[in-house]
Every structure is written in C-alpha cells, then in structure tokens.
Symmetry: C2
Subunit: 118 residues, 2 copies
C-alpha cells in the first residue's frame, strides 16, 4: 500500500522531460491525447502512461469528449510544489545570512586582535 505523499508525486511527475514537455504544451490550451502523442517519438501506451502519472499527481485533468480524451492543466497542485521550493530557498537564504554575519563578526574580532597585537 504505502501511499506516497503528494509532494513526492508532484516532483516525481516533473522528473521526466516528456512529462514536463506535456505540461508546457498544455499551457497553450487543452489537447487531445492524440495531439500530444504526435509530438513525441513514442507509442500510444507510453503516452497514456505518462498522462496517468501526471493525473495521479493531480497536475492534469482528463475529460471525455466523444472518442477523445481532453487533457487540461490543474494549477493548484503545481502551486504547492512551487511553495516548497521557495520556502526552502528562503530558509536557506536566512541561514546564509546568519553565516555571513557570523563571519563578519569573526573578521572584526580578528582585526581588533591584530590591532591589539601591534
């Protein structure tokens, strides 16, 4: 069973160039499976599989229309992925700033000592 958490599914889905290309294509509007398949040198089942991964991650939505399946972007989930990274970068920046001010303090202490030693 071992339900995989959402964020892992999202990043896992983004970790394949074909799936990122599919998402990019979908920013230009909805598309049928066939529209997508013709742009990649892969068999139909391979595309079906990539679309399933994107769908299970909650990144795309599938709708039936006659014989065609219409794919469209589902933006909410992508937002979570963006947030995790930007928080990460923000926290990293803070720890970097702390390090900087620590080093600045050390430099000051050192030059003070140098003066005292003179």
């Amino acid at each position: 069973m071992e339900a995989i958490d959402r964020l892992s599914k999202v990043y896992g889905a983004l970790a394949h160039p074909v799936r990122r290309a599919i998402l990019t294509q979908l920013t230009r509007g909805e598309a049928k499976v066939g529209d997508i398949a013709t742009r990649f040198d892969m068999t139909g089942p391979a595309i079906t599989n990539h679309l399933k991964v994107l769908e299970r991650a909650g990144l795309v939505h599938r709708r039936n229309e006659a014989q065609s399946r219409i794919l469209s972007l589902e933006p909410g989930i992508l937002r979570e992925g963006e947030e995790w990274i930007s928080n990460m970068r923000r926290f990293w920046q803070q720890s970097f700033d702390r390090l900087e001010s620590h080093l600045a303090g050390a430099r000051k202490a050192k030059s003070r000592k140098a003066r005292e030693d003179r």
Copy 2:
C-alpha cells in the same frame, strides 16, 4: 549512457520525503552525515545513497573534515527548479485568462441574443 538532464535530476532528487527532510535540516546549517543519519530510521548506506542523489543533482556540497563528511546546501540549482515551476504557472495563468475572456465574450453574445429573441 543516456545522460539525464539537470532539471530531471533536481526534481527526481526532491521526489523523496527523506531527501526533502535532509535539505530542510541543512537550512538550519551544515551537518555531518552522522547528524543526518540519527534523525532517520535507516542504515548508514541508505543515507549515503540519498546524499549521493542530492549531490549528483547539485543540491548539496560535501566537504571532508577529519573522519567526518560535512554537508551543506548549494542554492543555485534549486533556483532553476523554482523558475521552471513559476514559469509554468505564469503561462498557465495566461492561458486561463485567455479562456476566461473567451467565455466572457461568449456570455455577452448569448445575452445579446437573448435580448434580441424577446
């Protein structure tokens, strides 16, 4: 051989909760491999492996100090990952706006027709 592109490596690295937790820990400052290992219920080699994935994605940097390996964050690469997502969201927003104004146009035409039909 089949060299995997950078972005795929970055997202692939983020697609595991343990690796995300390691990155989060590193925002609080550098850490030895041992410091990281004690926080997860895994054997040493498993941690070594996750660290290798993070390192190959360019997300962390490893430095030797006596018997210990010191890990620290490498922020630049994370920025690329953030950019891809935020561009994606921005393009999506644009296509959403286009759809909205299209629908607004359709609604107007419809109510005009309704008036004309009266």
